[in-house]
């Protein structure tokens, strides 16, 4: 699937949300779309899915079966979770409820099957949204912040499902501003900022193929302060990704407390473990 010079804005005189986007998604790829709130991640995903039409340009070679998990599942519907999924299966042309049963069980929705959608918790409603997108194996799975509201156990299912879709030849686009991308092995990173999409070959989360991303130079930038954050070792990679996705500059990763930046310490092993490598910017000292 290819974004061919996509321009998009929500109203005639509104500023462009996306400008001249050229990018491609290939079968078997997982693309993680990063960016600040309001940068245009959801817009890009909806353009990919076909929910939105580009103002200019076109999305070409879109797969026939699309699975879209919206950022907010439309729970204001007078159905139970089971009724909704059964009806959506019928809309997708499925006969019987085998697929519904499979995803209800897999996503741990069994006890909520008879609960009205409006009464589901946010996370459970999100699972229903995920289930409806997977009733038929999609050629393109679009996940808009799929981790929102999910509990820890359910969050681990996302990488599994993504891997299954890509293994079946599908592509996956997933937006993430929570830094959960660490679980998506082999993913490619796109950053949405300033109405442009920047596919990055040096992805934080794709070390085996692209190598780690560079740390930002620690040179002085006006209006910036340095905030030190301590995270668990196992969560370092996700924390770095989240901070960078939120538009912050990550200056370093190190073992012990102390000032980082000019004159600060750099822990190479930790940095590599977190998917980042030593900065070469001016002002750093070993």
């Amino acid at each position: 699937m290819r974004f061919d010079q996509i321009w998009f804005r929500y109203a005639r005189r509104a500023p462009w949300t996306l400008e001249a986007v050229d990018a491609a998604v290939h079968p078997g790829e997982t693309i993680v779309v990063l960016g600040r709130n309001g940068a245009g991640k959801s817009t890009l995903l909806q353009l990919a899915a076909g929910v939105l039409r580009p103002t200019r340009g076109a999305v070409r070679d879109r797969p026939r079966v699309i699975g879209w998990v919206p950022e907010r599942f439309p729970a204001d519907q007078p159905f139970t979770a089971g009724q909704y999924l059964t009806r959506m299966a019928a809309v997708r042309g499925l006969r019987g409820v085998a697929e519904v049963d499979h995803w209800v069980e897999r996503l741990m929705l069994t006890e909520h099957v008879h609960t009205r959608l409006a009464e589901l918790s946010k996370g459970t409603a999100q699972k229903v949204g995920l289930a409806q997108a997977l009733l038929v194996t999609p050629g393109l799975l679009v996940l808009d912040e799929p981790w929102e509201g999910l509990d820890a156990v359910a969050r681990t299912l996302i990488p599994e499902i993504v891997a299954e879709v890509t293994a079946a030849g599908g592509a996956v686009l997933v937006s993430d501003h929570r830094g959960e991308i660490a679980g998506l092995a082999g993913a490619i990173r796109w950053t949405v900022a300033d109405a442009t999409v920047r596919p990055e070959t040096a992805g934080l989360i794709h070390p085996q193929s692209a190598g780690p991303a560079r740390l930002e130079s620690a040179g002085p930038v006006p209006d910036e302060v340095v905030v030190e954050v301590a995270v668990r070792r196992a969560e370092a990679e996700a924390a770095v990704a989240k901070l960078q996705a939120d538009g912050h500059r990550v200056l370093g990763v190190r073992e012990s407390a102390g000032v980082v930046g000019p004159g600060g310490a750099w822990d190479g092993a930790l940095g590599e473990a977190a998917g980042v490598r030593e900065p070469s910017g001016e002002g750093w000292e070993r």
């Binding site: 899915a49 879209w68 439309p74 519907q77 009806r87």
Partner: protein, 232 residues
């Protein structure tokens, strides 16, 4: 697409949104058939004309019942054209059921009668047949107006209500006898007048009314489809 139509009808009924137009429609029918009896043709002509705005409102309610995000999910699933058609089809099915009730309503109350002996009044069968036609023409017009007023194309509640109310009022005002531009609106009033005429107009008149209503409905639904494509 049939599954989507069924899902939308189920959502419309289960959500309770179906109740308001049904109650209003029954009140309208009660007023029409509440006192005395009249010939079938004129009675059904009034019924169709008065139910037109109710049917248009019901169409809008059906098309608006689904959350916007769910409508987009449906579009991804069945395609844009089928998704839009499924909404109109759901409204058509619901409207046909309404018209069926409207056609049955006068019978229990003895509110319609056949021709008086020794008069040239049209037969009961003719009156019923013309009544069915009048309701179908009103329904076609209502589908066009209701779809044009739906949230998917008007986006804002205020805009949708404005389209619905102004459309219904213009249909009456521009449909009055002697109107300067009767062709701008569907022939709801013209059909009611035709059914009340004594003697009945020739069959060609009803063919013309049918073509007029069909053309109006096609234009309105064509505009609806075009706007749906543009406002995805």
């Amino acid at each position: 697409m049939i599954a989507l139509v069924r899902m939308r009808l189920a959502g419309f009924v289960r959500s309770g949104r179906a109740l308001a137009p049904i109650i209003l429609g029954l009140v309208v029918l009660g007023v029409i058939y509440g006192g005395g009896s009249s010939l079938a043709g004129p009675a059904f002509g009034y019924s169709a004309a008065l139910l037109f705005p109710v049917l248009a409102w019901q169409t809008k309610l059906i098309l608006d019942a689904e959350p916007d995000v769910q409508r987009r999910l449906a579009r991804l699933t069945v395609g844009a054209g089928r998704e839009a058609a499924a909404g109109v089809l759901a409204a058509l099915v619901s409207g046909l059921a309404f018209c069926f009730v409207a056609m049955l309503a006068p019978w229990p109350f003895g509110a319609i009668r056949g021709p008086l002996p020794g008069t040239a009044e049209p037969s009961m069968a003719t009156g019923v047949a013309l009544g069915v036609l009048a309701h179908l023409l009103a329904l076609a017009a209502a589908l066009g107006l209701g779809a044009s007023a739906s949230r998917a194309v008007t986006r804002k509640v205020r805009n949708g209500l404005t389209v619905l109310i102004v459309g219904a009022v213009l249909t009456v005002v521009l449909g009055l006898k002697g109107s300067v531009a009767p062709w701008l609106v569907p022939p709801v009033m013209a059909t009611a007048r035709a059914l009340n005429a004594d003697p009945l107009p020739p069959s060609g008149t009803f063919l013309l009314l049918t073509a007029w209503a069909a053309a109006w409905c096609a234009v309105a639904l064509g505009g609806y489809g075009w706007l749906r494509r543009r406002r995805s």
